[in-house]
C-alpha cells in the first residue's frame, strides 16, 4: 500500500511538470495556432538560468522563481514580435522549422558556454527534508512542487473562466476570426499570451532544477512526452492539457512500477495511450474539431 502511495505521489509530481508545460503549449496553440516546439528549450533555460543565477551571482531559489519566468516571458514576447508572428500566414511546415530551429540554437548556446554535463542545484533549505503523512513520508520539495503546480493551474483556470481577459482569450482561442468580427483586437492579446506560455515553461524549469539534472538537453527529453500529453488532452484544450498532464504522470509512474518486468511496455505506455486515444477520439479527450470562422 505504501508502495502504491509512493508511486502515485511521484506520478503526480511528474504530472505537475507535464501539466505546466502542456498548459503553456495549449494557450499558445489556442491563440496563435502555433505549435511551439521550442517549449522544452525554455524549460531548460528556466532551470539553467536558476543554476547560473545561484552559482555565479548567489541569487537564491526563491528569487529565481520570480526572475526566470518573468525574464523568459519577456524574451518570449520579443521573439513573438520578431519572428513567431510571421508564422500565421505561412505553411505549418515553417512553424516546425522555426521553433525547432530555435530549440537547437538555444540548446547549443548553452552547450557552448557550459558543456553537456549536468550541474547540481541544491534544494532550498526551507524545503529540504520530508513531510510525514502518517503511513508514509514524502520529500518536502516534491510536496511543494505538487501544491505549487496545482495552485498555479487553479489560478490560471480562475483567470480564464472568471475574468473578462479570460473570456476574451477563450473566445479568441475558439474562433479567432469571429472574435475579430465582434470588435476585439485579437492580435493585441497574442504577444502577452505567448509570453505567458513561455513564462510557465521557465517556471517549470526553475522548479525542476533542484530535483532533475540541469543540462542543456533536459528540455528535449521531456518535451516528447509533453507533446503526447497535449495530443491526448486535445490540442488547444486548456483543461484537457492539465488533466492529461497529471494523468500521464500517473500512467507513467504506475507503468514503471508495476510493468517493470515488461520494459518494452513501460517505456512506451504513454505513446500507446496516445495512439489509443487518437483512435477513439481524433481531436483528443477534451478537444473539439476545428470550427469554421
Amino acid at each position: 500500500m505504501s508502495g502504491f502511495a509512493q508511486n502515485t505521489f511521484n506520478g503526480l509530481v511528474s504530472g505537475a511538470f507535464y501539466a505546466l508545460l502542456a498548459l503553456g503549449l495549449a494557450v499558445i496553440f489556442g491563440m496563435l495556432r502555433v505549435v511551439n516546439f521550442a517549449h522544452g528549450a525554455f524549460y531548460m533555460l528556466g532551470a539553467f538560468g536558476a543554476y547560473v543565477l545561484l552559482s555565479e551571482a548567489g541569487v537564491p531559489f526563491w528569487a529565481a522563481l520570480v526572475i526566470m519566468p518573468v525574464g523568459l516571458g519577456l524574451l518570449g514576447m520579443a521573439l513573438e514580435r520578431a519572428v513567431i508572428h510571421r508564422l500565421t500566414k505561412l505553411d505549418p511546415l515553417y512553424n516546425f522549422l522555426l521553433t525547432f530551429g530555435l530549440t537547437l540554437i538555444l540548446q547549443d548556446l548553452v552547450k557552448l558556454r557550459y558543456g553537456v554535463q549536468s550541474s547540481p542545484y541544491e534544494t532550498p533549505s526551507l524545503l529540504s527534508g520530508s513531510v510525514d503523512f502518517g503511513l508514509f513520508d514524502f520529500p518536502t520539495y516534491r510536496v511543494f512542487i505538487l501544491g505549487f503546480a496545482v495552485l498555479l493551474c487553479v489560478a490560471v483556470w480562475w483567470v480564464l473562466t472568471r475574468t473578462r481577459i479570460g473570456m476574451v482569450v477563450r473566445a479568441a482561442t475558439e474562433r479567432p476570426d469571429l472574435t475579430r468580427a465582434f470588435g476585439i483586437d485579437v492580435g493585441r492579446w497574442v504577444t502577452p499570451v505567448f509570453g505567458f506560455g513561455i513564462g510557465l515553461a521557465g517556471l517549470a524549469g526553475v522548479l525542476a532544477a533542484p530535483m532533475r539534472a540541469v543540462n542543456p538537453l533536459m528540455g528535449a527529453d521531456l518535451i516528447i512526452v509533453v507533446f503526447a500529453v497535449v495530443v491526448i488532452g486535445g490540442l488547444g484544450s486548456i483543461f484537457g492539457s492539465v488533466a492529461a498532464g497529471f494523468g500521464i504522470g500517473l500512467v507513467q509512474a504506475w507503468g514503471e512500477a508495476y510493468l517493470s518486468n515488461f520494459p518494452l511496455v513501460s517505456q512506451t505506455i504513454v505513446f500507446v495511450v496516445m495512439a489509443g486515444v487518437l483512435l477513439w477520439r481524433p481531436a483528443g479527450l477534451f478537444g473539439r474539431e476545428e470550427a469554421p470562422a
Binding site: M167, V168, R170, A171, T173, E174, R175, D177, L178, T179, R180, A181, F182, G183, I184, D185, V186, R288, A291, P292, A293
Partner: protein, 230 residues
C-alpha cells in the same frame, strides 16, 4: 450608409464576386437573394472584413473601410450575425452576449435582452452551443443588438427555423429598423424577405443580376422561386 463599388472576391484562383456594386441607405433593410454559391455570404464577409482575397471599395458613411481590420469595422457599428450563428462553446450565454464591446449610440442592456428572450435568461449560465438552433439564432441577433450595432450583416437568420421563430426574427428586425438600425440580409425565404425588407438584390454567378423592390418580388415570386430552385 454602406456603399460597395466594383467588389470582386476570390477563393484562391476561383472568382466568386465580379464587380459587385450596391448601396444600402441608413435605416433600410436590404436583402441579397440568390442561389447557393452565388456569392451572397462572401459579400457579407467582405463587408465585415473577414475575406482576405478581394478587390474594389467598401465605404461606410462615406469612409473607405476597404483596408480596415474586422475589429475596427465592428467598432464603427457593424454587427455580424454569421450563418452558423457564431455561438462559442467555451462561453456561457451571458458571456456570448457581453463579449463584444458596445459600439453604437443605442445598445440594448443585458436586462432588456433577457426580458425580450426569457429562454436565453433561463439558460444564461449554460454553454451557448447547448441551446437549440432557434435559441442560438436569437442569441446571435441579441448579441449585435446589445452591441448597439448600426448596420447588421445577417447571413440567413431564418435558415432551419420553425415558422414561429421565423416570425420572431422578422419582428426583431422590424423593431430594429424602427430604431434606425440598417440591415443587410442574406435570405432565401422570399416571403420573409418581402415582409421585412425594403429592397432586394438578386445575385447570380457573382454579379448583381437585378435590383428589385417588394412589389416586383411579389409579382415575380413564382419565377424567382423556380430560379432559386426552392
Amino acid at each position: 450608409m454602406l456603399r460597395i463599388e466594383n467588389l470582386s472576391a476570390f477563393y484562391g484562383e476561383a472568382q466568386v464576386l465580379r464587380d459587385v456594386s450596391l448601396e444600402v441607405s441608413a435605416g433600410e433593410v436590404v436583402t441579397l437573394v440568390g442561389r447557393n454559391g452565388a456569392g451572397k455570404s462572401t459579400l457579407l464577409r467582405c463587408v465585415m472584413g473577414l475575406h482576405p482575397g478581394q478587390r474594389g471599395t467598401v465605404e461606410l458613411d462615406g469612409r473607405d473601410i476597404t483596408r480596415l481590420a474586422a475589429h475596427k469595422r465592428a467598432r464603427l457599428g457593424l454587427g455580424w450575425v454569421p450563418d452558423d450563428r457564431g455561438s462559442y462553446a467555451t462561453l456561457t450565454v451571458t458571456e456570448n452576449l457581453t463579449l463584444p464591446p458596445t459600439v453604437g449610440p443605442d445598445p440594448w442592456s443585458l436586462e432588456r435582452v433577457y426580458e425580450a428572450f426569457p429562454a436565453l435568461y433561463t439558460r444564461r449560465d449554460s454553454a451557448a452551443t447547448m441551446l437549440s438552433g432557434g435559441e442560438q439564432q436569437m442569441l446571435a441577433l441579441a448579441r449585435v443588438l446589445r452591441m448597439g450595432a448600426r448596420l447588421l450583416l445577417c447571413d440567413e437568420p431564418t435558415e432551419g427555423l420553425s415558422p414561429l421563430l421565423v416570425q420572431q426574427v422578422g419582428d426583431l428586425l422590424r423593431e430594429a429598423k424602427r430604431h434606425g438600425v440598417t440591415v443587410l440580409l442574406v435570405e432565401q425565404n422570399l416571403h420573409f424577405a418581402t415582409g421585412v425588407a425594403d429592397r432586394h438584390y438578386l445575385l447570380a454567378e457573382g454579379r448583381v443580376a437585378e435590383a428589385m423592390d417588394n412589389s416586383e418580388v411579389r409579382s415575380r415570386e413564382r419565377e424567382l422561386l423556380a430560379y432559386l430552385g426552392i
